[in-house]
Symmetry: C2
Subunit: 165 residues, 2 copies
């Protein structure tokens, strides 16, 4: 693929309460913000219904924008086994939605995302959030989960650039 | 629901490599084995493709047998955060398949399943496997993941009996 071919990247930050998503188009050396948002599930809902709602919304987003690829966090550790299980469930339905729509998936660790955005792998969450706002020329910072999803998309856009050199 | 109304229970033991399933019909005080098996994914496949395959197979099984409910293990701990994440991903798509087909889900801890099958919450896996064979009059023990799924279905059948008294 020529490095000037536009690439539409969907970043996803999954969670059973809030799943952030962000769409970034890479066109030449430009990064263009397309959309971002948070899929919020009701705490009163049972887990299977929440997963159903996350999965259905992600499929809708994929069908609407038809991204070329999806970028998602590579998880090495979570707070504990229970939070890691909950994260896995949300992550599972997000990966499934992409697989069902034939979207290629790329994984990046938090450290790599921070490094790509700020040049520093140990950067604070807020620094990353501000860099996302700056790089995509957003009028204000995006909600944290949506911003993390945009950061993943930007990280993929930069990695892709390096690969295509 | 009258305790004589037949109840078809689908037990599921999810995993990204092997997902066991087992179908048990409870009719009055009788437990009838309907089917069991293992959904095995190829290790050469990427994770999203494996999740896709588990999800598609489970939806097919649910559509074929139309179970009244699904019994799945309640997980409190796993070996480590990474295995818990992998388990969560498989569990997520199993819960999704049931939610999409409108099947009610019940969770039971390993201790409760072992207690229900053998009368002893700390029973060995093999003891549970033999009790499953005995209770369902199987010609031989089922494969361990399928047997665990049948154990979950039997556990739900017994709990349901207690509830309906």
């Amino acid at each position: 693929m020529n490095s000037n071919t536009p690439l539409l990247i969907l970043g996803i930050d999954p969670g059973s309460n809030i799943t952030g998503y962000g769409l970034v188009k890479k066109q030449g050396s430009q990064l263009i913000h397309i959309d971002n948002g948070c899929l919020t599930t009701k705490r009163s809902q049972e887990l299977p219904q929440r997963l159903h709602s996350i999965h259905a919304s992600l499929r809708e987003i994929i069908q609407k924008y038809k991204p070329d690829c999806m970028a998602i966090e590579e998880v090495f550790f979570a707070k504990n086994v229970s939070s890691s299980l909950r994260l896995g469930e949300a992550r599972g339905v997000a990966l499934l939605a992409a697989a069902q729509e034939g979207v290629e998936i790329f994984e990046y660790s938090t450290r790599v995302v921070k490094q790509a955005l700020t040049g520093f792998g140990q950067a604070q969450k807020e620094q990353v959030q501000k860099m996302v706002q700056k790089l995509l020329k957003l009028p204000e910072v995006a909600q944290i989960d949506a911003s993390d999803a945009l950061a993943l998309a930007i990280c993929h856009a930069n990695t892709y650039k390096m690969r295509s050199l």
